[in-house]
């Protein structure tokens, strides 16, 4: 009954989405008052899809095995948390979540967008509704989650055990929050083209939505990477796997969009480019969905398993991107060009940022799709991995990172490059000192490592150069006065500084683990010792225990550093009965600076077990950096300029902040 309710709500949502799309986009041409329908439709749409999703979640939570989706992906012995998260741990459920988040963003515009001009808001919701129509149709026609099974079996097939993990359980909602959140930028771009007007106000509305989506995507990618690090048992954090690339591409282009929208807001320049970026960022989100959902990635032939699904998403993708580009071609030339600037200016710096991010996106795009193309052309099977990206992505992204601290120091319109560089003297000095010390300290390591660490320090310290200048720290102002000034800086400045410093921390993490990881694989018996770096690992014993839906072998390893015991680590091998699948649970001990990472391997039959141990210097900084970047984004979102629902009241304050604001 509950499932039928969910199914019915989904069908109703389709009807409402048709109204949400049709009334403003088509009806508005004949009778402008029809456009007012968009707002209530978007709210109703959100309600109906929430109901539908709740119904599916309920079916998973109570293990309703009359639904074929629940049978295929759940089991009564699973912990409740994973029963619930299992609702989106499969194709149909995750697409329903996708559609729900789409409606959520539409609903957010309907609820909080009172400050938008009515026609713009109606058109944005109309485009959003059109995307909704296509995805609800996709759900109902090719991937209906509410199909019944008769007779219902007694139990289900279980969820893939490696998905039964807290980080991965919440990875898809955040990832989709990012993918789908960029749909708002897309809808705003299409609506602006329909209106024929792009101005500072438009950019001011687009930015917070894009920023929110970006935060969500950053967190989603970081969670996925963290999961891969601790769950897959070989201590890697990024594999350049096509599925990861599918989420990295919209992230890179979305980052470019965040920055180019600033130029539109502040200077009225880069309008057309920003519109294009909005279209392509969402296009890449759709490509990401297509790549992951169609199965072309894991297997070119799985495409044939679900031809209608892959082709349907490809059709949706083509329709929206081609349609938006056509509209762009027709309308963009009419946009008024404004904002003249000198070659050395903040505008130019942001253009360079955009160019490099776009170039980086192109290299990832080629690396991800080239194997597919080659296979289709002549059947040759290749894999493109880290060596390719080290040769292409890294040389493009390093100059970008080098320029990050400089950009904010350049003034709009015309800037003094020399003066700006002088303000970075402290950051340069810090980078030089740390880089040299690292070169001495790790003399035997790769030559690039000290340079990489220096780059991280440059970003970290350089991020604060702009702020130190603004609050006149060390330049005549007393510390108290400087702090008082810091307190009154716009939140967006704080956000930017924090986010840029976050990149620095992440770079240090990446350089550390890539350059100085130490690996040791040995077969040892109880009582034996494995020495790795400064750590002495003593293998004590292996015991077994029963989990809720698995049995496990658990090793105990005593860890000592320079003779002082710092703890017992317990790596596990689990065996999930329902799906008869073993998994590896690595034991990780982190000092905050480096991780000790132990994996229990197989028994060799002679009383010893294979152990794999790593010391991963600076590994935790990768995710700490990512979280700091997200924190920066959130701080920036809380800037009073963007505060939802308070646009009018803030207006007076905003004008005064404009003088200092970026």
């Amino acid at each position: 009954m509950i499932a039928e309710l969910g199914h019915f709500a989904l069908v109703l949502a389709l009807v409402v989405a048709l109204i949400q799309a049709g009334a403003p986009l088509v009806g508005g041409l004949f009778n402008p008052s029809l456009m007012r329908l968009a707002v209530p439709a978007a709210r109703l749409q959100l309600g109906l899809l929430s109901l539908s999703f709740l119904a599916l979640t309920y079916a998973f939570a109570v293990s309703d095995f009359s639904l074929s989706l629940v049978v295929a992906n759940s089991h009564s012995a699973k912990p409740l948390l994973y029963k619930i998260t299992g609702a989106w741990g499969n194709h149909e459920g995750s697409m329903l979540l996708w559609t729900l988040i789409l409606a959520f963003f539409g609903g957010a515009v309907a609820f909080f967008g009172q400050n938008l001009p009515d026609s713009l808001r109606a058109r944005v919701l109309g485009v959003q509704g059109l995307i909704g129509v296509s995805f609800i149709l996709f759900l109902l026609l090719t991937s209906n989650p509410f199909l019944r099974l008769d007779p219902a079996p007694f139990d289900g097939n279980g969820l893939n055990p490696i998905l039964q993990d807290p980080a991965l359980a919440f990875h898809p909602p955040f990832l989709y929050g990012g993918y789908v959140g960029f749909s708002i930028a897309f809808s705003f771009a299409v609506a602006a083209l329909l209106e024929g007007k792009v101005d500072a106000a438009w950019a001011r509305w687009v930015r917070p939505w894009t920023l929110a989506a970006w935060c969500s995507l950053t967190l989603g990618i970081a969670m996925g990477s963290w999961w891969a690090y601790y769950e897959l048992g070989w201590g890697g954090w990024w594999f350049w796997d096509p599925v990861e690339n599918a989420s990295l591409m919209p992230w890179l282009l979305g980052t470019a969009l965040l920055h180019s929208a600033i130029v539109v807001e502040k200077r009225g320049a880069l309008k057309r480019w920003t519109l294009l970026l909005s279209i392509f960022t969402f296009g890449l989100s759709l490509i990401g969905t297509f790549l992951v959902r169609s199965g072309v990635l894991t297997s070119v032939h799985a495409f044939a398993v679900d031809p209608e699904r892959g082709i349907a998403i490809l059709g949706i993708l083509t329709f929206f991107v081609a349609g938006a580009l056509l509209l762009y071609a027709l309308r963009a030339p009419n946009l008024k060009v404004e904002g003249i600037f000198a070659p050395v200016s903040r505008e130019t710096a942001l253009i360079v940022n955009n160019l490099l991010l776009t170039a980086a996106t192109v290299t990832v795009f080629v690396g991800t799709l080239y194997p597919l193309a080659l296979d289709a052309l002549n059947g040759a099977k290749i894999s493109v991995g880290a060596p390719f990206y080290n040769l292409t992505f890294v040389p493009i992204i390093v100059p970008l990172l080098l320029l990050v601290p400089l950009g904010p120091l350049l003034g709009w319109k015309r800037a003094d490059a020399l003066g700006a560089s002088q303000r970075l003297f402290a950051a340069g000095l810090a980078a030089l000192i740390v880089g040299t010390s690292v070169a001495v300290w790790r003399a035997g390591g790769p030559w690039g490592a000290p340079l990489g660490i220096a780059l991280g320090v440059w970003l970290l310290v350089g991020g604060f150069a702009d702020m130190a200048y603004r609050i006149r720290l060390f330049r005549g102002a007393s510390l108290m006065e400087a702090l008082r000034k810091a307190h009154f800086l716009p939140r967006s400045i704080w956000g930017m500084t924090i986010a840029h410093a976050g990149i620095g921390i992440m770079v240090i993490g990446i350089v550390g683990i890539s350059s100085w990881r130490v690996e040791r694989i040995e077969a040892i018996g109880p009582g034996d010792v494995l020495q790795i770096e400064d750590y002495t690992l003593t293998f004590l014993n292996v015991g077994s225990y029963n989990g809720p839906n698995f049995t496990a072998e658990r090793g105990e390893v005593r860890v000592e550093k320079n003779g002082r015991e710092i703890g017992i680590m317990r790596p596990e091998k689990r065996f999930y009965k329902v799906s008869s699948m073993p998994t590896t649970e690595a034991a990780i001990y982190t000092t905050g600076i480096e991780d000790i990472y132990i994996v229990l391997g197989d028994a060799t039959g002679t009383g010893t077990w294979t152990f794999r141990a790593y010391v991963n210097p600076f590994a935790p900084w990768i995710w700490i950096g990512a979280v700091i970047m997200v924190a920066g984004g959130i701080v920036s979102l809380s800037d009073r300029r963007y505060r939802v629902g308070a646009p009018v009241r803030a207006k007076a304050v905003e004008e005064t902040a404009e003088g200092i604001g970026a």
Binding site: G89, N160, W234, V362, I382, E522, S579, G605, T610
Partner: protein
């Protein structure tokens, strides 16, 4: 600078960066990609020892031998040809006899294959597409229809 010159500079800079990206991509595609071969293709195409490649096929039943310490040996077959593989390390969770596997490494001069990475998909029913394809080509595909694929967010072929 006039407006026109400014625009020309901007377009020039954009093209330069684009050209750089394309150049890097072409250069990298030349020598950083890894080809995939089945055991029978290795002799057909005359793959040289020392070339980095991926080998895919089924693990021969009963062929796993644990050597000194952490060394492991097993045979990979596509039923037309079989190649002995040596690997030092911990095999992936889903590595099993009779199941599909992909090994990355290089051929040694004696005709064996020394792998530094062994990949098996994180799904018990999974058959790497390349392996399924190779088996079909050699006429030994046992499954019905197409290769199954899983819903693990495609978290691909990790070791």
């Amino acid at each position: 600078m006039t407006r026109k010159q400014r625009r020309a500079t901007l377009i020039g800079a954009s093209l330069a960066i684009l050209a750089l990206a394309v150049g890097l991509v072409l250069f990298a595609l030349e020598d950083s990609i890894v080809f995939f071969y089945s055991p029978s293709e290795i002799s057909e195409r005359g793959v040289e020892p020392g070339t980095r490649m991926r080998l895919g096929g089924l693990v021969v039943e009963g062929s796993i031998v644990r050597g000194e310490g952490t060394e492991i040996r097993f045979d990979v077959t596509d039923f037309a040809a079989t190649i002995p593989v040596t690997y030092v390390g911990i095999l992936p969770d889903l590595f099993r006899e009779g199941q599909g596997v992909v090994a990355e490494g290089m051929l040694s001069p004696d005709g064996g294959f020394s792998a530094d990475t062994v990949l098996a998909k994180h799904d018990e029913n999974y058959m790497p597409a390349e392996v399924a394809d190779a088996l079909k080509r050699s006429g030994n595909w046992q499954g019905d229809g197409e290769a199954p694929h899983s819903e693990t967010y495609g978290q691909g072929a990790y070791p």
